[in-house]
Symmetry: C2
Subunit: 494 residues, 2 copies
């Protein structure tokens, strides 16, 4: 006989409690194939529940293959293949997955630190981390976004949970086009493809153009997470030295002269990792070089909105009458990353090719989040949020620059003074050999090591400081710790 | 002087109205570079708003590059590059995007019907469409999902809008592992990778293993949207004829003997497009062949949950002690597609490689939707929804099969009798040449033409009927129309 009690307060529906308990007994062999379960009426009486509750539980057991049901008679336990033992599960695969994988995947896998496949870890308690470029969750506009989500749900109904347009939600593309208009870029919704964040945008562009042996020019240092992708696609990387005013354009021009170049990748604003912003003449000459040599330009404007001091400089895309520029934007670095919404803006001929790759790669992005974001923009929340972020981060950046001046001797390091964004680049003076990671750890502070932003071996030691998720007090304390750590290296020297 | 009025009722924030109106005047030249705007106090008095409202508007104009601001003095209009004219925008790109694209992208683009990059069109008014495999939006559990979303928002806070784990939300992976357990598959959350739907899952697997010249075996006919992907990755396609009881295993074995095969792709339940389900012995022999020849098996179980009649058959993955099977599941074909959540389950060595590809391809999927879905599962909504779907679609399928028997002569066509899912495959008898699309259109009914599910030219005419988004009345009327349309072909013959 079946003996068990239902728990009124566990929050699990009663029919589910019944089916789970019965399934457990079948798995452990207390109920065996051929055993007959009580009729719905009998079990309902026994457990003091409605017959329909038991019927639902039996239906579930049937649909899971635990019992055979026949109209009018009690369910009979079926024979199911035994579950493999845990020991069996943990043993080696009969396949060598390195041989199943392509060399391109194997390379990416071997060079990816394991932590990259997990959520980036929080710093240990008591540490201050300048390591990651992530918005401060304390600044997420939770309530406004939730309101927009709720309103979309009420007003737009089931279309929010259906398939969407592979190019992305039309209302959001229009809001983005309008937003780009305020930066001097004239595009329509048809020239925009919504992507799952900026990384996805880069992946789609590389996937579109990649053939082994093609060459892509990048700033050196550059965004660390594009380098493994370039290698994965079999592309050659031409590193163009980054000077104080941006990519060295003489070097770029020489490279264009020597052989075919297939893409130039640049971050004109608050470059990652250096924080450098190029000026208008630099942008004009860069576009001119690309025009003369017929090279498409990928403008990564991941922090376009985060210009909070200095003169405004127009995006390269705003001058792009020849439609050579593929512009990449994202909400992740000014709003929050969790909507996974970035975009590409380019000539419709380019966008259509990218849209086909997205279509066969994953059909379409989630409508619900895009619809909520479109409302967030059209109702003015986005602009207000940007203004707030400018106020907050202008002060944080000023605090950081002042603290650096106080805590770090100019004989130890030089650093950039960004007009926006979150990133400061420290270039360390020559020093005796030092285990930098250990030395920073001794002061419970961390920063992104510079070599991760270079394809080849860099000269000198660098750190990228991200102030994106630290408040002013944390920034000041963190930089004091950096000062003490660096002192251990350089004062030992002196 | 600036003359305009604010609109109390337009819903647009006042500061935004002010910045928009001023920006418009700058764009049209009414305000020119060098012009000085009124002080915040003066404009605030004039418009009867608070000074901070004007200050916010000026801040916005500054951040958009329209004005220069200096503390204490009025803003001055800056010179901005003129927006390119519409005529300039529409002209040709200076680049030939076919030459920028790789041949693999070009092929995909040229062979993709243009409509595939847009949302699939709704059928014209008055039509009945059996064409698309999409859940009926009338059955979406809107309220329960919205409740789960709201509860997640209240209880989980900012982590919902941050970056997530590239492998997917842990709670959801656990819920999926538990769900798979009820189908006899024993996996942990570490053996699961959440994907952006099943198409993304297929793309990741192919991306992992693809090298030009490798060979993938598929059922013939098979899922139409995997064929362009296989070609895009340069893979050879080995079409294995599908018989009434599934893929012809003798042919598969012969192909394995002749040369290296690198993947077998199969849909054991309610196969797309035929609706055929293989039996236990067929599954065992399929796995045995893969084991003997060392070939990984991609089991696409896109409708695993939709078994609503007949005996339960266990997934191939449940017998996979050698970890050769990569299992693909999705919520899109039983719940709704809008969460864009599918998954892959495989040996951890395989999952880690796939996770690295996802990580560099787009970082991580949206936490919010996954967290809501995890709640939807753990609170029992998913199981109850499945039971409901079984009741609804069992009746719809019975209705469809009865209607086919009434309306379509066995001399015109033969069709499958699926035990679950949404798909029926019609194989038409030989007929005089006919423009099938036209003939169906004359009765305002549509079905998916069979040739889209074959890599090579099929023999004979087939149609895939999807009953996924039609109710019983629509199914009956639609099949009557099919009968009349087919009559025009076959009675002309007789």
């Amino acid at each position: 006989m079946i003996l068990f009690e239902l728990d009124e307060n566990c929050g699990k529906p009663k029919s589910r409690q019944i089916s789970d308990l019965l399934a457990d007994r079948m798995k452990t062999g207390l109920l065996k194939p051929g055993d007959r379960l009580p009729s719905t009426r009998k079990l309902a009486d026994l457990l003091r529940v409605h017959r329909s509750t038991v019927a639902l539980a039996y239906q579930t057991l049937w649909s899971l293959g635990f019992v055979d049901l026949q109209r009018g008679s009690a369910p009979v336990v079926r024979s199911r293949a035994p579950l493999p033992e845990a020991s069996e599960r943990e043993r080696e695969s009969a396949l060598d997955w390195d041989r199943v994988s392509s060399p391109a995947t194997g390379d990416l896998y071997r060079h990816a630190p394991l932590r990259t496949v997990q959520r980036s870890p929080s710093p240990p308690r008591g540490w201050i981390s300048f390591e990651y470029l992530r918005m401060d969750p304390r600044l997420f506009p939770m309530e406004h976004f939730r309101t927009c989500l709720g309103r979309a749900f009420r007003e737009e109904g089931t279309s929010l949970l259906g398939y969407g347009d592979p190019r992305g939600h039309e209302g959001l593309r229009e809001a983005i086009a309008a937003r780009m208009g305020t930066h001097g870029i004239s595009v329509t919704a048809d020239e925009i493809l919504i992507t799952n964040g900026a990384q996805h945008a880069l992946d789609l562009v590389l996937r579109m153009m990649a053939e082994p042996g093609k060459t892509v020019a990048v700033e050196s240092p550059t965004y660390g997470d594009i380098l493994p992708l370039l290698r994965h696609y079999g592309l050659n990387i031409a590193e163009i030295p980054l000077k104080e005013d941006g990519m060295d354009l003489d070097t770029l021009e020489n490279i264009c002269r020597k052989g075919p170049l297939h893409l130039v990748y640049t971050m004109p604003n608050f470059q990652n990792p250096t924080g450098i912003t190029t000026d208008q003449p630099h942008r004009e000459r860069l576009l001119d070089i690309c025009s003369r040599f017929g090279v498409p330009l990928l403008e990564d404007a991941f922090e376009e909105e985060m210009k909070y001091s200095g003169r405004v400089v127009l995006p390269v895309k705003s001058m792009d009458t020849g439609h050579r520029v593929i512009y990449c934007g994202t909400f992740s670095k000014v709003l929050f990353p969790g909507a996974r919404v970035g975009w590409l803006a380019a000539h419709p001929e380019c966008i259509r090719r990218l849209a086909v790759l997205r279509r066969y790669g994953e059909l379409s992005p989630p409508v619900l989040l895009q619809a909520a974001l479109a409302r967030f923009c059209s109702e003015g929340h986005f602009e207000r949020h940007i203004s707030r972020m400018h106020r907050v981060y202008r002060k944080r950046m000023q605090t950081a620059l002042a603290a650096l001046k106080r805590s770090i001797s100019p004989e130890w390091a030089a650093w950039t003074r960004p007009d926006g964004g979150y990133l400061i680049w420290l270039s360390m003076a020559p020093s005796p050999p030092a285990d930098w990671e250990d030395i920073l750890a001794s002061e419970k502070v961390s920063a992104a090591p510079g070599y991760t932003f270079y394809s080849s071996e860099p000269t000198g030691v660098h750190f990228r400081l991200s102030i994106s998720s630290l408040d002013e007090e944390e920034i000041e304390e963190g930089i004091r710790r950096l000062g003490r750590a660096f002192g251990k290296v350089y004062e030992r020297k002196g």
